[in-house]
Symmetry: C2
Subunit: 181 residues, 2 copies
DNA sequence: GTCTATATAATGATAGAC
DNA sequence: GTCTATCATTATATAGAC
């Protein structure tokens, strides 16, 4: 799906890739609609795990950014949202869960923004959520299409901004020091 | 394409919508690959017109933002880029032209950023291009899926930011004044 | 240029043997 | 659960009449 787009995901193709008959796909998932729904649910489950991991880490903003920009999650989300335009059942479920997850991320970010003194310049915390989601999505999706103009600079700016808010612990001359936890 | 996704765009459907036989689509466009290529070219042509219009206006940043967020262009671009994952011929053309247009937009923005004193805070002008493209894309695409959480606040922040850089000419008590040009 | 007719391939899905 | 067989539908595309 991430490599060739949702249109390449067919029961026959999935069966071949899994080394089984395509009919087994229907045995387990009934319809393709349902298969894509299950895929979306698996994706959101993983997103929630990554989200909660980020907010118990010592650098929540950096972890959140690195998770979003590294994982194939942004790519998969983009593809499933494109597919949702074509499949009504996906559309409702996606709209619902995106808003739900965004609410959680927002309330988690609210505390961070207060702590970092960002509330004055950025305003409401949902803005930061939209900003992070939007920027990671365009960087990841364009990257996969072979578009890279401006990417390195944009990432550098954002990472500099994060570094200022969440300075990395500097290691001594004896090499990197692992913090006790 | 914008309403139901690229998978809904078939020669049969196009023929029906145009009130002609689907075979005529092949008469004019030969293959579907070529049809999508022509669509992409029409899209980029219009993008270039809007871009040049923005930069001769008195509020280039505002015009650029409003063009991007209003037109169905962002939606079409997103759909065609999703389709490009599935169609190799599109992929190369899209990667090439996106970078080309981005180069033009960047060099146009470079002058604006200097004038507005943004270079110090934002850095290189391509960053602003990526920022505008990314934010308009997520706002437009999510909007069409029925996702709106955080959108109003994000738009408000960006528009406030533009208003500060490009203050609107305040009209007198006699009503709006049209500037002579 | 627009139509009818048709070739060919791929899709989602079901029924039933084992 | 996994297979074979099969169906109805849809897709792109071409050939040829008018």
């Amino acid at each position: 799906m991430c490599e060739e787009g949702y249109a390449a995901v067919t029961s026959r193709r999935l069966g071949a890739e899994a080394g089984v008959n395509p009919q087994l796909i229907h045995y387990y998932f009934q319809s393709m609609d349902n298969l894509f729904l299950e895929l979306w649910r698996r994706h959101t489950d993983r997103s929630l795990v990554l989200l909660s991991q980020a907010f118990i880490s010592q650098s929540p903003l950096r972890t959140l950014w690195e998770n979003s920009i590294t994982a194939r999650g942004a790519s998969l989300a983009a593809e499933l949202m494109a597919l949702a335009r074509h499949r009504k059942v996906l559309r409702a479920e996606i709209a619902r869960t995106v808003e739900s997850i965004r609410r959680m991320q927002t309330s988690a970010l609210a505390g961070i923004m207060d702590e970092y003194g960002l509330t004055k310049s950025l305003g409401r915390p949902e803005i930061l959520t939209v900003l992070i989601t939007g920027m990671t999505r365009i960087l990841v999706v364009e990257d996969e299409l072979g578009i890279s103009l401006g990417h390195a600079d944009t990432r550098a700016l954002i990472e500099t901004w994060i570094d200022r808010l969440e300075p990395k612990a500097r290691s001594g001359s004896g090499g990197p020091e692992k913090p006790k936890d």
